[in-house]
Symmetry: C2
Amino acid sequence: MKKLINEPGDVVDEMLDGMVMAHPEYVRRLEGTNVLTRADAPVDGKVGIVSGGGSGHEPTHAGYLGAGMLDGAAAGEVFTSPTADQLQGMIDACDGGEGVLCVVKNYEGDVMNFETAIEFAEMEGDTEIDHVVVDDDVAVEDSLYTSGRRGVCGTILVHKVAGAAAARGDDLAEVKRLAEKTVERVATMGTALTSCTTPEKGEPTFDLDDDEIELGIGIHGEPGVERVDVMSADAITDHLTERVLDDLALEEGAEVMTIVNGMGATPLMELYVVNRRLQELLSEREIEVWDGWISDYMTSLDMAGCSITVLELDAEFKELLGAPADTPALTVRE
Amino acid sequence: MKKLINEPGDVVDEMLDGMVMAHPEYVRRLEGTNVLTRADAPVDGKVGIVSGGGSGHEPTHAGYLGAGMLDGAAAGEVFTSPTADQLQGMIDACDGGEGVLCVVKNYEGDVMNFETAIEFAEMEGDTEIDHVVVDDDVAVEDSLYTSGRRGVCGTILVHKVAGAAAARGDDLAEVKRLAEKTVERVATMGTALTSCTTPEKGEPTFDLDDDEIELGIGIHGEPGVERVDVMSADAITDHLTERVLDDLALEEGAEVMTIVNGMGATPLMELYVVNRRLQELLSEREIEVWDGWISDYMTSLDMAGCSITVLELDAEFKELLGAPADTPALTVRE
């Protein structure tokens, strides 16, 4: 294993320190925890939006802390849910008096720990707390880690929609409605050219030959649903996009936004090649692309590969997605 | 070789199409060329700032097209200089009547082709054109590709300083003075955990064992100046930072900005671990960090590793670095 790390057991702690040192204007660390919050949390008079999960998906989640997106982000160990008490501490720290919405990726550990944290936070305080579960991965119905579909890169769009709704003053019920509507209309599928290597294990989580790739991978080093011979970027993009579009059942004339997401070790050059084919395909199907993002948003350590996310839009979504966001990993200008 | 590409010979063309489709509000392609310009180029009454070089370093250079940075970016084939006629076409397209400054990384092909392009552009037009050569890599004095030091990630800071000076209305001589001052005060050094693989060759440009890394690498798959056993992130950071600081000969109390740059296949998690140690080291030496950037700015295809850049600041630089920039790869807010 070759990684820019020190002791494997220290990597999350040191990464969080490095993030705070890099972005002191955006984030601070709750003392004694692996929770980062907005530097100005809690923001009074606004619904707090928080998320969290295992580390190894950076910039998810802490990269999205800031105005117009998240108030809190809890980091578990690599590919491991944060504990319920850390989640509870985060919820408390992001409570500006208008309630808190937790955005949870659909993994059993995350869902269980968030539900426990919410229960305790509600018992001990007087704020209303609610949550949404994101399950945008169309590749599998159940996996090693989940009942139902996994939550992957579409989560970022839930952060953006909920964050913008909270920023303009929507109440908790309305923020939750919009977050759930995002979950219903977003779909993702990914491919891996390589496995990934966790710092603790030090070896790839699955073996993959030099002439093979995996289609339908998750973000925790799970193998995909199908192992195939190496394909061209266009063929891969066609496969992923068709699965995503079938799931959404879009009609001609639909308006969408797209994400081409790198899995952690994918050069930007390759993501742009994928984006070219994605945009061609959508144009052929007479689906209009309102905006498209290309970068590393939801990664899986040092995995090479990408995922494609499509969200079906309407006027309500466009207002929220186009609203300003100011975070380390994502900026939307006024 | 596993890459998200189609035919190796098409990768640059397809990438550029993918960039234009991703960022139509920022960039357009000069028809029949591999030159991208700002969507609104030429900007009348402003010195044009242009750059270019081989592909494989994305987001360099086209990712920096936009207000406050570059007006034009020419993309050669992978690790190959753009031709002089493409560079001349770019210079012409970015000439808003106040002259054009070319920012050139110090590689023999780039320098030669830019000089030829400038000569022809000056013969055929009546605009003044000038250039600066960036040579921030402290690792080697001469290399396979260069006489003198190589131009690497510090180039981004030259784009930022020159772009901000041009945006506020400085004339060509003043923009050039500020760009050259940046070159004098910036230093970079990098490390590779893996080699990189060019699409055409399909094999790593150098061999590296599982327990070895290279210190002092360039951005074209050149091996480093020293091959050593795998080291911890802290030990690597110490080594790179000390070389960079020795070159700059900073005194206690100096003020700097830093970049921790990923080489293309480096997870953000690891860059933050490196940043933590970098900031510690600078603090120990009583050097004040005004700002620090962490991302992929100047990559080398699918190389894993990082580089560290330090620029010594003064009031003039802080004004220009803090001025707004609005580009696909870098945003500085008002």
